[in-house]
């Protein structure tokens, strides 16, 4: 059973909707700047969404506070992806979202108040758990029934897309809104700093002199439908999701294996699932975080699969920052845009290939003939590796 993509929505450091994101990618306009909105953190380069919580709350006319920023970003992207669709008893509708921080922004404020013996606002803690983040988004769109959240660090929303596709393939749902959301928090900024992999300059994915990642925030959602759903909704088909695979690297809690075992397995099986050969892949949206470890391991894995015929590939993280649990969905939307417009996106900040692997990413925005199939990689802590394949319908 084919799984069609008929809706996309996104909010990131490079735009508040799909069109703005596409424009920024085309114009090579990065959204990574010094932090302005997140309190307590200065002089840190990150991909902030340039809207405050209050602005987001007003924009979507929200009540029933408190909201975590993760929910607010999720509502923005999910609303765009859902578009003018309406609920009907004829269709089994569900939602799978993903987040790694959930309501950690509010939890940080609550916990600081507790530790500093201020009068703590306990209502803030009600947004802590990841599931409540998803419920707030679903509630906004009035989706009920199967509502689920995955949390597998940086591969989370790629897994949400995969689970949604599987639920449709196994005929458990007719349509499902899938994606993920994460906001910038002190927790993650300090966390990646403590691991010494936060670059205090602009990140340089796949460059020999890369020195770590810049975090970002954002959300993206995609509407997946089966054929009987499309007969009712009459939605236009953007493309299909045709392949997916999740594999454990089983090497280290945070580091990727030097031979790229998990990444290789994820890519290989996803391509197989799509029923195509590796030479049919037109473009790879790589995970490419800009850390020494990831980019070396991912390059090795790409060579394992494609040998000397590596298709055009790029990491878009130097635009958005690494948006953690949202990254898979944000990059899935970019993959869909690549297919819809027959384009490949640039890998900015690249000057010198990695000595060992010598791979040169796509550095210019470029129209090419027939972008038929796009591979998108998302790799996370715990060795959680997921690859997705999107195919022109």
């Amino acid at each position: 059973m084919s799984v069609y993509i008929t809706g996309i929505g996104i909010i990131s450091a490079i735009g508040f909707d799909v069109q703005e994101n596409y424009f920024s990618l085309k114009e090579k306009k990065s959204g990574i700047e010094k932090i302005k909105l997140l309190p307590f953190e200065n002089d840190i380069l990150a991909g902030e969404v340039k809207l405050s919580n209050d602005e987001l709350i007003r924009k979507f006319n929200l009540k029933h506070s408190p909201y975590s920023r993760t929910s607010l970003l999720g509502i923005a992207a999910a609303t765009e992806a859902w578009g003018n669709n309406f609920l009907t008893d004829e269709l089994r509708t569900g939602m799978v979202s993903a987040t790694s921080v959930g309501g950690m922004d509010n939890t940080e404020n609550y916990y600081r108040q507790v530790l500093e013996n201020e009068n703590a606002d306990v209502s803030l803690i009600l947004t802590h758990d990841s599931g409540s983040t998803t419920e707030k988004i679903a509630r906004h769109l009035k989706i009920t029934g199967y509502i689920n959240t995955l949390s597998t660090a940086c591969s989370s929303s790629a897994n949400a897309i995969m689970l949604g596709a599987r639920l449709i393939e196994q005929n458990k749902l007719d349509r499902v809104l899938v994606g993920g959301s994460d906001s910038l928090t002190r927790f993650t900024i300090k966390g990646f700093n403590s691991l010494m992999i936060y670059d205090n300059q602009w990140c340089k994915p796949f460059d020999e002199n890369r020195n770590g990642l810049n975090l970002g925030e954002g959300a993206a959602f995609l509407l997946l439908e089966n054929e009987s759903s499309i007969r009712i909704t009459k939605n236009k088909i953007y493309c299909r999701i045709s392949g997916w695979h999740n594999a454990a690297d089983a090497f280290h809690q945070t580091a990727s294996s030097p031979d790229g075992k998990g990444a290789t397995l994820a890519m290989k099986q996803a391509i197989e699932k799509a029923g195509i050969a590796s030479r049919d892949i037109s473009y790879i949206n790589a995970h490419g975080t800009g850390t020494k470890n990831n980019d070396a391991s991912e390059s090795t894995a790409m060579k394992n699969i494609f040998e000397n015929n590596i298709p055009a590939f790029s990491s878009t993280k130097a635009f958005t920052g690494h948006t953690l649990a949202a990254a898979g969905a944000i990059e899935a939307v970019y993959s869909v845009l690549a297919i819809m417009n027959d384009v490949v996106f640039p890998n900015i900040n690249f000057t010198q290939p990695i000595t060992e692997t010598k791979l040169v990413p796509q550095t210019e925005f470029k129209k090419i003939n027939n972008v038929n199939s796009v591979l998108s990689n998302s790799f996370g802590f715990g060795g959680n590796n997921t690859s997705l394949v999107f195919t022109k319908n």
């Binding site: 790694s100 939890t107 940080e108 916990y111 600081r112 507790v114 530790l115 500093e116 703590a120 306990v122 803690i125 009600l126 802590h128 758990d129 990841s130 599931g131 409540s132 998803t134 419920e135 679903a138 009920t144 029934g145 199967y146 509502i147 689920n148 959240t149 995955l150 949390s151 597998t152 660090a153 897994n159 689970l163 599987r166 639920l167 196994q170 458990k172 002190r186 927790f187 300090k190 966390g191 700093n193 403590s194 691991l195 999740n246 594999a247 454990a248 690297d249 089983a250 090497f251 280290h252 809690q253 945070t254 075992k261 998990g262 397995l265 996370g380 802590f381 715990g382 060795g383 959680n384």
Partner: protein
């Protein structure tokens, strides 16, 4: 059908490697503590040192499951956890707030992500298969079970699935501040192997599971579900349930007026994934074939099919049916 070829639980009850525990457990006393196995017998001591309780419990149960099911590598590892690795999350949160200058140790950050649990199991086994973590507050475990069943439907043979959450002290303060009274927070971990094939020792199976979010009528959901799986409520011998508001309790008692009901929270204590405890309790009761628990007023009843009805969060509902294979 999804055969249950292994079940293992660490909880505040003597559940670990203790078959027929359902015959001997009583409702939790105030101030009860987690009954830990000797972790050193199960996990090497240098690994143990770095592990929080949630990881220790999970790995111990997972290893026990592989032993019972006589498998070395599961084809998928699926975990449901409502709040994830709370101990390390709280520890890192406290560090970033209190350490104003200088380096913050990264270990608790590394171990704070929800998927540390499933990830550590894969790492320990060198397992490269499907590895997933579901976190949908009180119905995280049911979502993990649904994913495990999906994996079996897709052709996998053996899937490890677990539900686990850990208690940390700040939970008590938060509950007090939120005005919740008389909640006994506990830790617990239950893991199972679900299989396509049954082995000689296998006596129980999961018939099906379902989740509902933003429920309006508890009984409508039940009626719809039982209709979908073509089961009459009279065919259910025992209902294990949890609830957090009295109205729900009244409506479930009314709905199952002719069935024996048991509030499993009185045995497991409260944690987000405690419906996994209830599933193991159900398996243990089914293997015994009849049921009469300490402190429960009912007479001995024959049991071959049990419904676990998880309404711990009033807006969510998780339903799981566990039955004897002969049923």
């Amino acid at each position: 059908m999804y055969y249950i070829t292994a079940a293992s639980t660490i909880s505040h009850q003597p559940t670990f490697r203790n078959k027929s525990f359902s015959k001997n457990i009583s409702t939790l006393a105030a101030g009860s503590v987690l009954i830990r196995p000797d972790y050193k017998e199960l996990i090497s001591s240098d690994m143990l040192r770095r592990m929080s309780e949630i990881i220790r419990m999970s790995i111990s149960c997972a290893m026990d499951c592989f032993h019972q099911a006589e498998i070395k590598q599961p084809d998928a590892i699926v975990v449901g956890t409502g709040l994830g690795c709370l101990f390390d999350t709280e520890k890192f949160l406290a560090s970033i707030i209190t350490i104003k200058q200088g380096l913050i140790p990264p270990t608790s950050f590394i171990q704070s992500t929800h998927n540390t649990i499933a990830g550590q199991i894969s790492l320990l086994l060198g397992n490269h298969n499907y590895n997933m973590t579901h976190t949908q507050n009180t119905i995280s475990f049911e979502h993990a079970v649904l994913d495990a069943c999906l994996n079996l439907d897709e052709g996998k043979e053996n899937v490890l699935v677990g539900g686990v959450d850990e208690f940390i002290r700040p939970l008590n303060n938060i509950a007090n501040q939120l005005g919740y009274k008389n909640i006994q927070f506990t830790s617990g971990s239950s893991f199972f192997v679900l299989s396509k094939m049954k082995n000689d020792k296998c006596k129980t199976q999961i018939r099906s599971a379902i989740t509902f979010t933003f429920i309006e009528s508890f009984t409508d959901c039940l009626t719809r579900y039982l209709g979908e799986i073509k089961l009459d409520k009279k065919e259910i011998d025992l209902v294990l349930f949890s609830f957090s508001d009295e109205d729900a309790k009244v409506s479930i008692e009314k709905y199952f007026s002719e069935t024996v009901l048991l509030n499993y929270q009185n045995y497991s204590g409260t944690y987000f994934a405690n419906s996994a405890f209830a599933v193991h309790l159900a398996i243990d009761i089914l293997e015994a074939g009849d049921f009469k628990m300490n402190g429960s007023p009912t007479e001995l009843v024959k049991v071959s099919r049990i419904l676990i009805c998880n309404n711990l969060n009033p807006k969510n509902l998780g339903l799981t049916i566990v039955e004897s294979i002969e049923a």
